[in-house]
């Protein structure tokens, strides 16, 4: 069998040392009636060569961004992944290690995650970051639960405008069984949250106001204004940000955010049909002991040398059990490492240039599409970053299929998330995202296909 060691001779030697005649005898702990009397109904074993042929065959029946042109958005984006990211995360010392329980045997992981935490603080303008959560939507939920713990308020949470519909869905799943009221304030006619309605919804029982920026529709929210409304009621502002946008946009931490979360996929993580991705969560220093997830801390060792450890584990499930700040155990370590490599490779200038390319190319695409008969860019006066909503002269789904035939992918159609608060008829609406990878020729090609 593949990967097994003990040869028949060794197996015999081991059994005799154990003092049994056969492996079956070791299985007697399992009551015989509970044991399977036949093999599982699984497909037969494949050699490495056959497995590769099989996977290549199936992969060739799926459409990836490498061989097509990806304008798809909605929370996952086709940003460039520098080769350094793959090179480093492909090292067995990282990917075949586990949670750094033994600090002495895990300084590589621990220091890298300490650097990750620092870079996330630098990116978001916050003071402390954990070492990763599962993904962006889950981070919104964890941040919300954390806001409840911190404020001691469980009456209400307010979603301010166009939060990713799946994030909303996850949040509702997480708090659905509790008495917490989830108030969703719709976007106004400009595609950003209606501030008046928002002001009215935040009350003394509101734990958190959750806002995504740029929002799900691609529009930039006025975070400072929302922060003022939020803090007026001593509620906490949770901002879900697009990490790439931070190359241009003011950091949430500088605009009053209390907790910043993000989907980290854009930071060097492949699309891979939705996961594994990276949940980012950072906050102010005073919330440290309320945070979910692993934290890496700096300390000194026996000889006084600087070193790193899993810290503040008293918050965690393996110690606090049902009183823990979260049930998370295995996190997204390798994805956090990918993001670390990505951020180091980009640096301040790379982030700035990437963000500018996204901005310019998205606006070029929007302008060209807006000039097509029958097409409108929604909320065209509202500032945007790399993504926007098209109103098409036909159903979005039909349009997606049409351009797909030419090897170009756009979407998602907004109808698949309907109803979206504040958006009435979504049938002809769809998202288009333009990353730094898209060339003018590709954009022009898309525009032609839309004609």
């Amino acid at each position: 069998m593949s990967y097994l060691f003990a040869t028949a001779t060794e197996e015999q030697a081991m059994l005799s040392r154990i003092g049994v005649d056969s492996i079956d005898q070791l299985l007697q702990q399992i009551p015989k009636p509970l044991q399977l009397d036949k093999l599982l109904d699984l497909p037969p074993a494949l050699s490495e060569m056959e497995l590769e042929q099989h996977l290549r065959q199936l992969a060739s029946q799926s459409s990836g961004s490498t061989s097509r042109t990806c304008f798809q958005g909605g929370g996952a984006y086709d940003h460039y992944i520098p080769s350094v990211v793959d090179e480093i995360t492909g090292r067995g010392e990282y990917y075949t290690a586990y949670t750094p329980y033994q600090a002495e045997a895990s300084q590589g992981t621990l220091q890298a995650f300490f650097e990750y935490q620092t870079m996330i603080c630098q990116l978001t303008g916050m003071q402390v970051s954990n070492a990763s959560l599962y993904e962006g939507g889950g981070s919104v939920s964890e941040a919300t639960l954390m806001a409840m713990r911190t404020t001691g308020r469980t009456g209400r949470v307010v979603i301010a405008g166009a939060l990713h519909p799946e994030y909303t869905q996850v949040l509702r799943t997480y708090v659905g069984h509790t008495s917490t009221e989830v108030i969703h304030i719709p976007v106004g006619s400009d595609g950003t949250v209606d501030l008046t309605k928002l002001a009215g919804a935040i009350d003394e029982n509101t734990a958190a106001v959750i806002v995504q920026n740029p929002n799900f529709l691609g529009n930039i929210e006025d975070l400072a204004a929302i922060a003022d409304l939020t803090h007026a009621k001593e509620s906490l502002m949770v901002v879900s940000t697009d990490p790439i946008s931070q190359g241009l946009l003011a950091r949430p931490g500088d605009l009053g955010a209390d907790i910043v979360v993000a989907e980290g996929q854009s930071l060097g993580i492949p699309l891979q049909f939705g996961g594994p991705y990276l949940g980012i969560l950072a906050c102010r220093n005073d919330f440290i002991r309320r945070m979910p997830g692993r934290l890496i801390g700096e300390t000194i060792d026996r000889t006084g040398g600087r070193c790193f450890v899993l810290s503040l584990q008293a918050r965690e499930q393996h110690i606090r059990r049902d009183k823990a700040t979260s049930n998370i155990c295995t996190n997204q370590g390798l994805m956090a490492l990918r993001a670390t490599m990505f951020m180091a490779q980009m640096g301040p200038q790379g982030f700035r240039e990437t963000a500018e390319l996204c901005l310019q190319k998205a606006h070029y695409a929007a302008t060209q599409i807006a000039a097509l008969p029958g097409y409108t860019i929604l909320f065209s006066e509202t500032p945007k970053f790399k993504e926007f909503v098209i109103q098409a002269p036909q159903s979005a789904q039909t349009l997606i299929e049409k351009v797909a035939k030419a090897g170009v992918d756009i979407g998602p159609a907004l109808s698949q998330f309907a109803p979206i608060p504040g958006m009435a008829d979504t049938e002809n609406l769809l998202l288009v995202a333009v990353t730094e990878q898209r060339t003018k020729a590709q954009i022009d090609h898309l525009v032609n296909l839309l004609k």
């Binding site: 990836g64 990806c70 946009l249 003011a250 049909f273 692993r294 040398g305 190319k361």
Partner: protein, 487 residues
């Protein structure tokens, strides 16, 4: 040099990535975005060159122990060999680069893989309804408990109580709490198994669920599991099997056959994820058919199109609890699990479990005179040895042994877990280690126990770091680097 932080290597104006010139007509940034929304300063990220990054993180990596470099018998974590073919195949275009909102008819190959993965996990569990969505085992637990909650809500029953034995993973009560249940712990028994009589007392009409790891964290099969399940079922509750230890029983016995109604897998453990220095994991759940309507969305179903071709579709179960995460699931890890199961086949799956048991029992046998296991004549895939005799007689603790093992090139076992065993050393060798390695490991432990306690208290002696001050780390948390003021 290798102990420098990446921030120490930063120099103003240095850079790694170059971006292309913009090839579309541009406008001033301030024309597109009002100044009040724009950052006033560049991000304070480190400014380094690409060779800096590579050398820094390559050298850092060598400070880790890992399965690729060391024997890593970390109990409960199933640190088995991670096949290299999985890394190659999970990176194929058509898998690694598929957008989560790709249309189903343009990713039939990928959906076929995931559909087959659902089936295989259902078959191994003996529980036919599978959701691949949960991102890790703990999220699998939570998801299943939410499914249970929805089921009871649907039936109009208000059940608040979740039971679990004292030896349970901490995630069990934590997940139950987040799902809104009250946690009730069963006391431990002397033989390391669940206390059936105690359970009988606690089980009642308010019991939603019993969460049990089987084999348990002592590496023992809960022999009375069928009876236990009957007790829970008789009061209308559900039995949840924590699948952390599936590596012991896959192909030998099935949760669905011994009374489980729900379970989760740890794909990164049992099916060689890999572990990624702490994740990503993947924690699919398998449940009985009557719970299928509550599974999170989407699941994959197979249908026949008008032209007679097989098509795979993403489907929302009718009474779904919603979503526990964005998008489909940790597909990259599921692909690796799929590759593993397709490589092993039905014989291989069973053989892997058998050899995991063989290796654990062999290690237990050759260690029994110095580090006896507290429970059980034989174990399954792991066992919990106790250093309490050594602690008493020689002041050598489990931690001392763990730390000293590092000096000899062995990762430590899990220590001080489960809590029911004093001076616990939880050892899980897995099936992908050789007899020669187990012999060398046992021989090393023997040597260690002959060393002086004082010397051991300061171990490890050969690594760059030894016995970090955890207390200081917790009292004065330093969780990120800050530039030195005035430098």
């Amino acid at each position: 040099l290798s102990t420098q932080l990446i921030f120490d290597l930063s120099s103003p104006g240095r850079r790694a990535a170059r971006l292309p010139q913009c090839d579309v007509p541009t406008r001033a940034v301030e024309e597109l975005i009002p100044a009040k929304f724009l950052a006033q300063k560049p991000l304070p990220l480190p400014e380094v060159a690409e060779p800096d990054i590579v050398r820094h993180y390559v050298n850092l990596s060598t400070l880790n122990m890992s399965v690729d470099t060391h024997f890593y018998p970390l109990g409960s974590c199933t640190m088995k060999y991670n096949p290299k073919r999985h890394e190659r195949l999970s990176k194929l275009s058509g898998i690694v680069d598929v957008h989560p909102y790709q249309q189903a008819d343009r990713m039939q190959g990928l959906l076929a893989i995931l559909y087959e993965m659902q089936n295989m996990l259902g078959e191994i569990a003996g529980l036919p309804a599978v959701s691949l969505q949960p991102a890790a085992g703990a999220q699998g637990e939570l998801t299943a408990l939410m499914v249970a909650a929805a089921y009871f809500r649907d039936k109009g029953e208000n059940r608040r109580k979740v039971l679990f034995p004292a030896s349970a993973h901490g995630t069990n009560p934590a997940s139950a709490a987040i799902a809104g249940f009250d946690c009730v712990q069963l006391p431990a028994t002397a033989n390391g198994l669940m206390d059936v009589e105690e359970l009988r007392k606690l089980a009642d009409s308010s019991t939603a669920c019993l969460m049990v790891t089987n084999p348990n964290t002592l590496g023992l099969f809960e022999k009375q599991i069928a009876e236990v399940a009957k007790i829970i079922h008789d009061v209308g509750g559900l039995v949840y099997i924590d699948g952390a230890n599936m590596n012991a029983i896959m192909g030998i016995t099935r949760p669905g056959d011994f009374g489980g109604d729900m379970m989760h897998y740890n794909v990164h453990k049992t099916f060689t994820g890999p572990h990624g220095a702490g994740g990503p994991g993947s924690g699919p759940i398998a449940v009985r058919d009557f719970l299928r309507p509550y599974l999170p969305a989407p699941i994959i179903e197979k249908a026949t199109a008008e032209n007679g071709k097989t098509v795979y579709q993403l489907v929302t179960p009718e009474k779904t609890i919603g979503k526990v995460r964005t998008f489909f699931g940790n597909v990259g890890i599921l692909i690796r699990g799929y590759c593993y199961l397709r490589t092993l086949g039905p014989e291989g799956v069973r053989k892997a479990a058998e050899h995991a048991i063989l290796n654990a029992n062999y290690l237990k046998a050759i260690l029994k005179d110095i580090l006896p296991a507290a429970h059980g004549e034989y174990c399954l895939h792991e066992f919990v040895a106790s250093a309490s005799k050594l602690a008493k007689e020689k002041q050598i603790s489990a931690m001392d042994i763990a730390k000293r093992l590092l000096d000899f090139g062995f990762h430590a076992p899990t220590v001080y877990f489960p809590l029911v065993v004093p001076e616990a050393l939880m050892m899980e060798p897995t099936e992908t280690e050789s007899k020669a390695t187990l012999d060398a490991f046992a021989e090393t432990i023997r040597k260690i126990t002959e060393e002086s306690a004082e010397f051991l208290h300061d171990a490890p002696h050969s690594l760059p770091v030894s016995r970090p001050n955890d207390v200081q780390a917790a009292r004065q948390p330093v969780l990120s680097w800050s530039p030195k003021v005035g430098v």
